[in-house]
Symmetry: C2
Subunit: 339 residues, 2 copies
């Protein structure tokens, strides 16, 4: 405990000033390395020495108070834990915030409206520079009223009018990229196991799939869309239909579906990628790289979502002006052995 003076109280600038025989103003100057006002070398040395020996640490709270603005960025998430994904958003946001001297104030609301309002209010009371409002899956949201009292940006979600700033994954491009992978390997009969639940993921990926197909002059007749639940069980259940369709490649709504499909395919002795190529979506941490064979997929850019959110919030993004309210981040393909 070098930071506590004899009396047990934390060491303040006052203490340092006294120890160095100077005024607090002088200490402030040397602590902040102000280049404007020059301090005598001897004085500076004395002050620095006092700081060292006393173990002085500036009080960020006081600093923020006087400057009138804090170095906090709030991050409210509807589900930190339900998915590995949210972690990546926090991670990206935290790294980027850090770079600019900001720290993250994190709140988890479990989708509870009251908790959400409370969290945002709390953040406002801490004078946050702005808040990142994020969801664990890409969807439309209504902006909670208190959010509008500060600078904010939606991450992995958007407001339906699309007038509020947001950063979301480019589902269309992702679906297109995934389909292209199959096409480039010469496949012509490419099935798409999509989900039934309405979402930007469902619609965007489907549109991307179609765009890639038609670009490759595969008529809508050659389109094979199978609806299923977006989990392993759904992929497994879709196996029969996939096989019956005569598809030689399958683009799955997500990696979990692909995992289920692997299972179904293997059960019928179908080789991947020999008989059927499989492309996933998400590049989910614990799954994708470790399926047998490792899964070719398309990555949901959660880290980037978080980082870009902070960047736009702080206004350090290039082309701030003509950026549309909703920024879409590409989903890069990750090629492995399933195609």
């Amino acid at each position: 405990m070098t930071t506590a003076s004899a009396n047990g109280q934390p060491v303040t600038m006052r203490d340092v000033a006294d120890a160095a025989g100077v005024s607090v103003a002088t200490v402030s100057l040397v602590v902040n390395k102000k280049k404007s006002a020059r301090i005598g070398d001897a004085t500076r040395a004395r002050v620095n020495h006092a700081i060292k020996t006393l173990g002085y640490r500036p009080n960020a709270l006081a600093k923020n108070l006087v400057s009138g603005q804090s170095k906090f960025i709030g991050l409210v998430a509807d589900a930190i834990a339900t998915t590995p994904f949210a972690g990546q958003i926090i991670h990206g946001a935290q790294d980027e915030a850090w770079k600019h001297g900001f720290v993250l104030l994190v709140a988890n609301t479990e989708g509870n409206d009251d908790a959400e309002r409370e969290a945002i209010t709390m953040m406002l009371e801490y004078q946050v520079r702005g808040v990142i409002y994020s969801t664990w899956y890409h969807r439309a949201v209504e902006v909670p009223a208190p959010l509008k009292e500060t600078d904010f940006i939606l991450v992995n979600c958007y407001e339906t009018s699309r007038t509020q700033r947001a950063v979301v994954p480019n589902e269309f491009q992702g679906g297109y990229a995934a389909t292209r992978i199959a096409i480039e390997r010469g496949h012509r009969r490419i099935a798409f196991i999509n989900t039934l639940t309405h979402s930007p993921a469902r619609d965007g990926r489907l549109a991307g799939y179609r765009a890639a197909l038609s670009e490759a002059r595969i008529t809508s007749h050659g389109e094979i869309v199978i609806d299923s639940t977006p989990e392993q069980e759904g992929g497994y259940a879709a196996t029969r239909e996939v096989l019956r369709s005569g598809a030689t490649a399958v683009f799955c709504h997500n990696d979990r579906v692909a995992m289920g499909l692997y299972d179904g395919l293997r059960r019928r002795g179908v080789d991947i990628p020999g008989d059927v190529a499989v492309v996933g979506f998400d590049n989910q941490e614990v799954i994708a790289a470790h399926l047998r064979p490792p899964l070719t997929t398309v990555q949901l850019p959660h880290y980037e979502l978080g980082a870009t959110g902070v960047r736009r919030l702080l206004g350090v993004s290039q082309s701030v002006d003509n950026t549309p309210a909703v920024t879409e981040i590409d989903c890069p393909p990750v090629i492995r052995q399933s195609t």
Copy 2:
């Protein structure tokens, strides 16, 4: 923007006091609902009205400054994103902190020592009430020096002397519980696919496995330990040896290993749980519940780890005194269909 007065500056207590024609002290009293000093009903009403119309919000920074103690709890993690697990720790910590009026300041260090020191320093400057130092897998750590300048607790890690407060999963109990599941279903030849990497997980689970075995009067002769890498690939690779051992049940070091083993077993037409029962470890989100058949496993209590960490940090845990420095949290069994 109701929180900004005409001049664009945030609304302060001063503004409210002026609007209500009272002093700031009075406003402070009604804002904090101090029951000690009674305020005239009329005055209170006027103040509340002014607060509403002006959209006043207390400045938490100022509040913390004067009280000398903040409502922050720092959480430094070595890897927020590499794993779904860390998210659960954050989640638990955040929920518990919230309950006590605290907010989480999160920093991610990617295991980088400098980043770590910087993060902790920053937290100290923000006058955190204490910090949670957590790792994404259970291991021994050296406590970074700056940490000792504040209240802290290790979560999912511990210091080798075991003199520092820590909260970790009870690997022994977990290994024991997992093995018990097999034993209770009548199995006598129970293999354990362990990892090669030295860790509390490796040693603790092994000890638990052995304890359960010997308790069931299965001699060390009947012990079948197979070392492999702690991922899908390792589980798959272990298949042969598992089969050769004649085991009718397999306890896997983790769910990912179990997933690989499923694959290997299925490939050879071995039925789960008909021919071989499988027990995992971790209860990993995206995997365990969705294997075919759903995996019986034992849950790593990450949420609890985070929550307990905060509770002990804040001193709200019962039996604060005679609690040993290192608290172990049980890993509850999760029964599904693989056994």
